[in-house]
């Protein structure tokens, strides 16, 4: 069981706040939340995961990544993890981040928003091949 951090406690409080107020998320923020969906990661790992999953289409620089991490952390969507790798594998400069419950619900809300948009596009036959003259 991971100890609840102050950020998480504040995240729980902010759960009361409508997750919708954070929507739409920027693509970079959504990608960071996605990267943390399957487990905690350090900064460089998040960066690599986003690049791998998007076939290098989304390429975050250190400045952009940490700008987004700061925003997500201050709004309670992610939190610093208390767990660290075994002593020999650890790099003390690294910090590990994990998705909070609140972050997960915001990411889900964003995914639903996109899904809704997608289904509306489908209903409107937006993906139909263009007619040729």
């Amino acid at each position: 069981m991971v100890a609840r951090t102050r950020a998480e406690r504040s995240a729980n409080l902010s759960k009361k706040i409508d997750t919708d107020s954070f929507l739409p998320l920027t693509p970079a923020m959504f990608q960071v939340l996605l990267a943390l969906a399957d487990g905690e990661k350090h900064g460089y790992a998040i960066l690599k995961e986003v690049a791998r999953r998007t076939d290098d289409k989304v390429h975050l620089s250190a400045g952009t990544l940490y700008g987004n991490l700061a925003r997500l952390e201050s709004s309670g969507m992610i939190a610093e993890s208390g767990e660290r790798p075994a002593f020999g594998l650890d790099d003390e400069r690294r910090r590990y981040y994990r998705l909070t419950e609140f972050g997960r619900s915001v990411a889900v809300a964003e995914a639903r928003r996109m899904e809704e948009a997608l289904s509306q596009a489908r209903a409107k036959h937006l993906f139909r091949k263009p007619e040729t003259a």
Partner: protein
């Protein structure tokens, strides 16, 4: 090699990180460096140069994208914190904001005037090319002798440096056909006058070459004010006709609202429409000089080149017409930039006021810094906690500067309102100094100045208070034990701030004191006439009704007789002008050369000059000018009688110091006509109380000169008699126009309005400074006493008399103010020379002012220190020791 690359990259990355806020770096810098290092290593392994460039591009862009957002976040956070602090300390906030508002407001207000009058380019097309050209009689000390028509023609044709040269003169005419006869100030100008200035009428057209031809139909262009005030901004005014000078005049255009140069006129007419300027005698007479001349430099030409060009023409004219330019007058020509001419008079006053306003702001800064330092003592624990939690010195500085900036910004906003409220007062004041006063407004330049002033202010007082608030972490965290060392250090800084406030305030008060002394001396000047119970006004007759000036004078006599029979009027007279006449103060005296019968001039000696006035018999009696010897003019001194003159005492003292001037004769036309002196009257300060009376010659109106003014002496207060007198005038001549009705008390007061307003503004600034400095001394003494309660308690317990304690505290307050006064004394001694040109009969180092102001400061310091001293003297030693 790779290692070297790595360390250089890390260094550069580290430098880049500096643009991110401190808090962000503290949180993420090490991680970001790690991530960047891994990215760099990976890119190096791939080995592509383009990849390397891409990495750097993305990294730099990412940091530059993140930095503003993070700075903004922290600024918002600091602002929220600052607002919380302010609402928790409403007393401190209110005093600081008010002090800053007064300082910034004073600066904004004065800057709005300086900006409009001195800084902004002229509101004319390429204003820097416009010049004012004066003909001078250097040997006679006359800066501007005016221009005659032949001279204007010569310079216009012969110059190589001007693209155009235009003439101007101003006269009063009476306009009929629009309600009552209206006496209008008329600018008589060349057809291309407005074209040269680049002024386009907002209605109709400007003048065209055809308008300037002799015999052309008379046309008028209305000034914007005259059109608004007298025609209700009627859009159909163009084409309307009026009668003036016995001719029908058609309005052809209306000017935009621009400063009219050289002075404000109601209407403008081309030279052909002016009955004087278009007369043959005027056109042909080289010595009939009454015009002013302006020019526009050809592109690329400089003022120096134009000056050289004009000097060549002047030399040519001197040899061609030696009679018109005799050696003895020292004929010369001078050109100056129009802008410098427009602002010459205003510059010294405005710069002095701006300097005074800056002093007030500096004093306000020192005061708020002092207040903030006092508050710091109370915030020591909070700051120590924040420091302990990891806030670095620069982070705290940033927080404190944000607080300062917000205070200054609120102060600036209120200051802007103060400036806005005082705009009309300042415009009226500046209008006496420059025609550009109408351009005064709160524009983007002024707003930017206010913002910069607020920013600079916050930087000054914020930095002082932040840098000198040494936080002693250990003592700060221990409740109630403010570090003795830190508090002593702060007290020293506070002392320095107080001393500097006193020094600056002292200098301001000296400036204001000198101006006030100068004003009082000016007001004590005996004007040479009785200003009480006297009324003056301008009067114009219908030129078409009276074909000769004798007929007009006959009517004027009837008017005077009629007015003298009015109840409450003791005497009346008509004259060419009256003392302190605002028109004469603006346009200058009517001076003429003269010679005294039987006295020859030495070789190279310039002929004497005198101000000449034409008056009707009861003029001296009406104005209360004393007759020293001889007689006044009488009804028998008419056109047929021998010409007679009355001179003033200055003239008598200069030419007949021990002889009787009565019976002596003088001539103004090289001996053609001789005027016999029949009387001597007292000197009159015609041209302003600060000006020494000129040599003055009065002649009877019946024998020479024109009527311009009507003066009345009454039994009671004449202020409400204007309408009664106007009605009486219209009973005799319904076509006579009356304007500019003023009491002579009013004219006298108006003549000192400019120095009075300057003294008042400086006085307000100085009073403000004194108040701030005195409050500062009181504040620091109260704080010192509260910090020394225990020590004073022990002293009293050990037998110190309360009176000794009182003296001890008073002495400390006195010491601060004396130190400030001494520094201020040195500063004032060096600086008051700058206001020398504004002073009247007071030296810039006037010992009485210096001593008086020093006394005021010492007294103020004693009063300010008295309350804290009394509190110190009444400390109960038992209570004081129990508190600790």
């Amino acid at each position: 090699m790779t290692k070297n690359n790595s360390s250089a990259s890390q260094k550069f990355f580290g430098l880049l990180m500096k643009i991110l806020p401190f808090d962000f770096r503290a949180n993420y810098e090490s991680e970001m460096s790690g991530v960047f290092e891994e990215q760099r290593r990976e890119t190096a392994q791939r080995g592509g140069f383009m990849d390397f460039l891409k990495l750097w591009g993305e990294t730099i862009a990412g940091i530059f994208r993140t930095a503003p957002r993070e700075h903004w976040q922290i600024f918002r956070q600091d602002c929220r914190y600052a607002f919380r602090m302010m609402s928790n300390n409403t007393g401190y906030t209110a005093i600081a904001v008010l002090t800053l508002a007064l300082g910034i407001g004073a600066n904004t207000a004065i800057f709005s005037v300086v900006n409009a009058v001195l800084l902004r380019p002229l509101p004319y097309k390429q204003g820097q090319q416009l010049i004012f050209i004066r003909q001078q009689a250097v040997k006679m000390g006359v800066d501007d002798i005016g221009w005659s028509v032949p001279e204007i023609m010569d310079y216009r044709q012969q110059n190589q440096t001007l693209s155009s040269l235009v003439e101007y003169h101003s006269m009063y005419f009476t306009l009929y056909g629009h309600g009552d006869p209206d006496r209008v100030r008329t600018g008589v100008v060349s057809w291309n006058y407005f074209d040269m200035f680049g002024v386009k009428p907002i209605l109709g057209r400007a003048f065209v070459p055809k308008d300037d031809e002799i015999g052309a139909p008379a046309v008028l262009v209305l000034s914007n004010e005259y059109w608004r005030n007298n025609f209700g901004a009627d859009p159909n005014v163009v084409g309307k006709t009026f009668e003036m000078n016995d001719k029908v005049h058609t309005v052809v255009g209306v000017l935009p609202p621009i400063p009219q140069y050289p002075r404000e006129n109601d209407v403008y007419m081309p030279t052909s429409a002016c009955p004087f300027r278009s007369s043959k005698s005027h056109i042909d007479d080289r010595d009939m000089r009454m015009m002013e001349v302006f020019g526009r430099l050809k592109p690329g030409m400089t003022l120096g080149q134009a000056q050289g060009d004009f000097s060549t023409i002047a030399t040519r004219l001197q040899s061609a017409y030696p009679k018109s330019y005799p050696e003895k007058i020292g004929y010369g020509i001078a050109a100056s930039q129009l802008k410098s001419d427009l602002t010459r008079e205003a510059q010294p006053t405005l710069l002095v006021l701006l300097a005074a306003a800056v002093f007030v702001l500096l004093i306000a800064c020192a005061n708020v810094a002092n207040l903030t330092l006092s508050r710091m003592a109370r915030r020591e624990r909070e700051i120590a906690v924040r420091t302990a939690l990891g806030a670095g010195r620069s982070r705290l500085l940033r927080q404190l500067l944000t607080e300062s900036f917000l205070l200054a910004l609120i102060g600036g906003a209120i200051g802007l309102l103060i400036a806005y409220g005082s705009l009309q007062l300042l415009t009226d004041f500046a209008a006496r100094l420059s025609p550009r006063a109408r351009e005064i407004q709160i524009d983007s330049g002024v707003l930017l100045f206010t913002l910069l002033a607020a920013f600079a202010t916050s930087l000054i007082f914020g930095t002082i208070s932040a840098l000198f608030s040494r936080v002693n972490l250990n003592s700060g965290l221990k409740e109630g034990t403010a570090g003795a060392g830190a508090s002593q250090h702060r007290n020293r800084i506070r002392g320095v701030l107080i001393v500097s406030q006193v020094a600056f305030s002292f200098m301001l008060l000296i400036g204001a004191g000198l101006m006030l002394r100068s004003l009082f001396k000016m007001l004590r000047v005996n004007p040479g006439f009785e200003t009480q119970h006297a009324l003056a006004m301008r009067i114009s007759f219908n030129w078409s009704k009276y074909s000769t000036s004798d007929q007009a004078k006959e009517v004027a006599k009837k008017i005077v007789d009629r007015i003298e029979s009015e109840p409450g009027v003791t005497s009346a007279a008509v004259s060419s002008s009256y003392p302190l006449d605002p028109d004469v103060l603006t346009a200058g005296p009517n001076t003429n050369n003269f010679q005294i019968e039987g006295r020859l001039l030495a070789a190279g000696e310039a002929p004497p000059m005198a101000d000449t006035d034409s008056i009707s018999p009861h003029f001296f009696r009406t104005l209360g000018i004393p007759l020293i010897m001889g007689r006044e003019f009488s009804a028998t001194d008419d056109a047929k009688a021998p010409k007679v003159a009355i001179i003033n005492q200055s003239m008598q003292r200069r030419f007949w110091p021990s002889a009787d001037p009565i019976g002596q004769r003088i001539s103004f036309d090289d001996g053609k006509d001789w005027w016999q002196i029949v009387g001597v009257v007292g000197d009159v300060h015609d041209l302003g109380l600060e000006h020494t009376p000129m040599l003055q010659v009065y002649g009877p109106l019946a024998q020479d000169g024109g009527i311009g003014t009507l003066v009345i002496r009454s039994v009671a207060d004449p202020a409400g008699m204007g309408q009664q007198i106007t009605n009486a005038v219209h009973e005799v001549d319904p076509t006579a126009a009356i304007s500019g009705i003023t009491t002579l008390d009013g004219a006298r007061s108006e003549s000192v309005a400019s120095p009075r307003t300057t003294a008042a503004l400086l006085g307000i600034f100085a009073a403000l400074a004194l108040l701030i400095a005195t409050a500062g001394i009181g504040g620091i003494m109260a704080l010192t006493v509260s910090q020394r309660v225990k020590e004073i308690g022990i002293r009293i317990a050990l037998g110190a008399q309360p009176s000794r304690v009182l003296v001890m505290v008073l002495r400390q307050g006195l010491l601060l103010s004396i130190l400030g006064v001494v520094i201020g004394l040195v500063g004032a001694y060096g600086l008051t020379g700058l206001i020398k040109s504004l002073l009247f009969e007071v030296t810039p180092t006037d010992p009485l002012t210096f001593a008086g102001v020093a006394f005021v400061f010492v007294a103020a310091a004693l009063i300010a220190s008295y309350l804290p001293a009394r509190r110190a003297a009444s400390i109960d030693p038992i209570e004081a020791l129990r508190c600790e």
